[in-house]
Symmetry: C2
């Protein structure tokens, strides 16, 4: 017999376009409300009608609420119906006659200028959008620049420019200026991929004129092909179909979008993913293997109380109790959403008979309202391009309840090729009874936890969740590379003093890994296939990206639980494939003595 | 045909129960398929019919697939239609006549024992569920235990017990045994909150009898009141109403579930959350302020190339360009899900006139298929209790597109009282044109990035996103506490050698913070209100939990961009409230010289 599964499709999306009509201002005025359009107009009118108008041109670089005093706001907030609103004022940062920055505070109720002061000191205000547009248009009519473009065999009609502020590199001079760099939009709206490298136009932003020009070097123009990000420009039927809504079940294989993987239940490990592979976007032709097998290898939970009833609470939830044996049947529409499909699992009871766990796994497409990729392009004259691809992923889930704790184990597969593994910890804390009823009574005594309620201590503990990930990225021959980010002192010729670059180290031995990671500092951990390269010669690989709380054990090396879980002193272990090395704390964990675990194998 | 199912997310309510008939085994056999029920039965039958049967009692502690050789699996996988399936075998770990662990491999096709060996060495197999039940039932009929319960004034009918493995603490003895600890389920199903502290029953698991008993100390029984987690036992109308689908807009205030906050647009900061407060669960009576104001204070993006056209690309996207000014109107049903509500924003143009940004924010309820809290309880005889609360949150979002990059800025509010802030980075990489067309040509040359395509380098860079969080947890008087986890050597009397405990340090000065955090090691960062305490005397507070990539700048201290963004050398700065200290890189950032920023303020 094969497992049957049932898919319950319940309550779905409700298309509801809230139209938010703000209710009348008087009722909902809050002292921190942003300026309304009419308040912005008031600021403009007050300043334009003041003596500042003689300092033309006047440009507004920032207009916003002048923060009311916090105590006044708090006083209002504690009693909004009767306390007066703090005086409502606006802060305008303006630039006067191209030379001066001024901070003008406008009293909005009175329509007067409450404060006006000239800015002293270094630094300039935000750029206006208008001056950025104006600056970017200057090269397009500038003879030397036009000549440079033509000399490269390019057509001016496809040139678009962007402004870059110049920063400060020790110069005494401090004019407001920008460097304008240009791109070539021929054959693509993704002009960022086609920089006209080597050409710099310097613009004085106050004078709005070109004050410097450099055509330093000619570099080949990167190709337009393959750079356009608009769905309609890509030969991907898949992407044209909008949100992907299906997965296919063939025995224990699951196929979804560009993914295929095998899903199996095990009494000890619970959820096991094998043979995961991903195809090239759109084509579906080249299917790359990614992971031979992945599962949680051990789940070590040491408590931090030495009392007679507590010192031995150093659980190995997987090797001692079994994540699979303690799997909880998933509750449809609660543990998993209404669009989930469910799978049963089987284990052997004590006398060897098969025992069924109903709904031990669920699989569902997730759309959490997030975006997979997006871009809005306003840099091409007279066009606004916005392309947004919502993020839809596939989640495989099980829940195991080992006593008081419930672990929600998720494997999430993304169209990008990423796999995200996550364990949610929920359920109930393990508590200790105590005579204490108030925290003040505990002063001077280490109670090994937090007083949660009268007579109840939530005892300190860790959860070390260790994954076994047998990655076979595009084949079984993989290397582990530590890509370190290292600071480099810049050459004297550069105005910069430093930068960082990436130094890659391929790990040679298992022990080497530990050492490398210990000293790594900021680094990417990458598994690459040294035999497979992309068209431009990069290795195919996966990055290991930690997220959330990862940590190492704080127990001393000579403590018994630590001897048994010696691997918990490292975040990552890299070992060569060995079929017998599946369980981080060893195959036989109950009363184990640390002679068969990941830390020991790596010493061999 | 394979069973395929489609989940159509239609724009209407649909109730559909889909039952899928599994297809025949032959088509979908995969070498890593878990054992089927009939295969498990085969294992049981083969072993029960073998000479092992004479070693009764025989107990099965693990039965699962005996991993086929990886090369054989890969060979099959590369050609599943014609390559033979590797031999299908099962691994059974059994316990024979209460003394011996054996590893038995069963050939499933032949119905024979392929291997049988006695386990030597330390450690024991997984517990069976049946022996755990049996062990936990023993105290309930054990005279001394019954006497201890009665002596505490408790009734046996409410006592439930759980088993805890004893670990290994240097003893030579290595019997399979467990300590049984018991709880009191009177008045609550959450018996974990009511431990019968101080009483230990030791059970020999092979003999299944009590071998030790200790009634060490009497501790008060924690109260049952308030511990039951079932919705029907709680006086919360709110929770009974199921998924919450609405939020209320009053001017710029948003109210949702137990949250209220103010949402404002600013030309520079973009999205500003103010006056966030949360009410006690269920009651809605006591509303605690949480955050006076939160927003992104600066967004520093230094590139790592010293070339003439690149050295100055050290963007301060907020202080130089304005996150609000570059906000992209959100695309309904793409940038935000279909149930989102949208809000407009206004800024002042260069001449002071109000300019509208349509749909600059969206607000939506998110249900991503996740669980907020759950527990399955099987420890109470003849009952299974499962309580699951789906996680529904409220997300406030804006997108700002500063040139090539799109930042998706989310503030997520949770029923638990947590706030999650997140920035998604998407859009297009900033690239440099290069003569190189293949990675091999770049050997020996630091190209300051990755060759993405022919003639195209994606240049190394950082994004430092710095939040200004003015927390007012239950009032404006807050302290910053570093809760360090520190290893402690256990007293000689304990079998344990070590544990960790929490040492709390309240930060006294702004500089002190930097020092404390630098040396902290594993620590929680907590903002507490020292004047407000819970019923049992704990301080009210919020933890700051980093997630994903947080880092510090690798530029040298004397590099100009680093001088301007000196704050990027620390992950967290704690400063006393000062109304003028809003912008981490200073108010005037263009051409700034580092004399007005967060690092400088903290030195004052």
């Amino acid at each position: 017999m094969y497992p049957t599964f049932k898919i319950l499709l319940l309550l779905l999306l409700l298309l509801l376009s809230h139209s938010i009509t703000p209710t009348s201002a008087a009722h909902h005025r809050h002292p921190l409300d942003p300026l309304t359009p009419s308040e912005i107009s008031t600021v403009q009118r007050v300043i334009d009608n003041s003596s500042l108008a003689s300092l033309k041109p006047l440009t507004f670089h920032y207009v916003g609420l002048d923060d009311p005093d916090k105590p006044a706001v708090l006083a209002w907030f504690s009693n909004p119906t009767s306390a007066p609103l703090p005086p409502r004022r606006a802060l305008a940062i303006i630039r006067a006659h191209r030379r001066q920055t001024r901070e003008v505070v406008v009293d909005l109720a009175r329509g007067t200028i409450a404060r006006d002061r000239v800015r002293r000191g270094h630094g300039h205000p935000l750029l206006t959008l208008e001056e950025q547009s104006a600056a970017c248009a200057l090269p397009l009519k500038y003879g030397p620049f036009i000549a440079s473009v033509r000399a490269r065999g390019l057509k001016m009609e496809h040139v678009v420019c962007e402004d870059f502020l110049v920063g400060w590199f020790g110069e005494a001079e401090e004019r407001r200026s920008a460097k304008i760099l240009c791109y070539y939009a021929e054959g693509t709206v993704n002009f960022y991929m086609r920089p006209i490298e080597g050409v710099t136009v310097v613009v004085d932003l106050d004078e709005m004129k070109i004050t410097g020009y450099l055509d330093r070097v000619v570099v080949p123009m990167p190709k337009a092909g393959g750079t356009d990000y608009r769905t309609m420009k890509q030969n991907t039927k898949e992407k044209d179909s909008g949100l992907r809504k299906r997965f296919i079940v063939e025995g224990h294989m699951i196929r979804w979008d560009n993914w295929a993987f095998h899903l199996a239940f095990d009494a000890r490990a619970g959820l096991v993913i094998s043979h995961a592979s991903v195809s090239e976007h759109g084509t579906g032709l080249h299917r790359r293997p990614v992971m031979y097998r992945g599962f949680i290898s051990e789940l070590f939970v040491p408590y931090m109380d030495t009392a007679e009833e507590w010192y031995y609470r150093t659980f190995f939830d997987e090797g001692e109790y079994g994540i699979g044996l303690f799997a909880s049947p998933l509750v449809p529409a609660k543990d998993c959403p209404a669009n989930a499909g469910f799978f049963d699992g089987y284990y052997a009871g004590q006398s060897g008979q098969p025992v069924k766990v109903e709904r031990v796994f669920c699989v569902f497409e997730r759309y959490a309202g997030d975006v997979s990729w997006r871009h809005t392009e306003t840099g091409i004259p007279n066009r606004v391009i916005t392309e947004v691809q919502p993020e839809v992923t596939l989640v495989v889930r099980m829940v195991t309840t080992v006593g008081n704790y419930d672990y929600i184990i998720d494997w999430e597969f993304k169209h990008s090729g990423s796999i995200k593994v996550k364990v949610g910890l929920t359920g109930i804390l393990e508590v200790k009874a105590t005579p204490y009823t108030h925290a003040d009574q505990t002063i001077g005594d280490d109670i090994h936890g937090t007083l949660l309620a009268e007579n109840t201590i939530g005892v300190y503990h860790d959860h070390f969740i260790t994954y076994h990930l047998d990655l076979d990225v595009d084949g079984p021959e993989n290397s582990f590379v530590v890509s370190k980010m290292e600071t480099v002192r810049a050459a004297r010729a550069s105005p910069r003093k430093s930068y960082w670059t990436v130094v890659r180290e391929t790990v040679k031995t298992e022990l080497d890994t530990t050492v490398s990671l210990g000293r790594a500092g900021p680094a990417d951990l990458v598994v690459v296939n040294p035999n497979k390269r992309t068209a431009v010669g990069n290795h195919v690989g996966y990055r290991l990206i930690p997220e959330g709380g990862t940590g190492t054990s704080l127990l001393t090396d000579d403590d018994y639980p630590q001897i048994r879980a010696a691997y918990s002193k490292n975040r990552v272990w890299v070992t060569a494939y060995n079929a017998s090395e599946k369980w981080a704390a060893g195959l036989y964990v109950d009363r184990s003595r640390g002679d068969d675990n990941l830390a020991v194998w790596s010493l061999r």
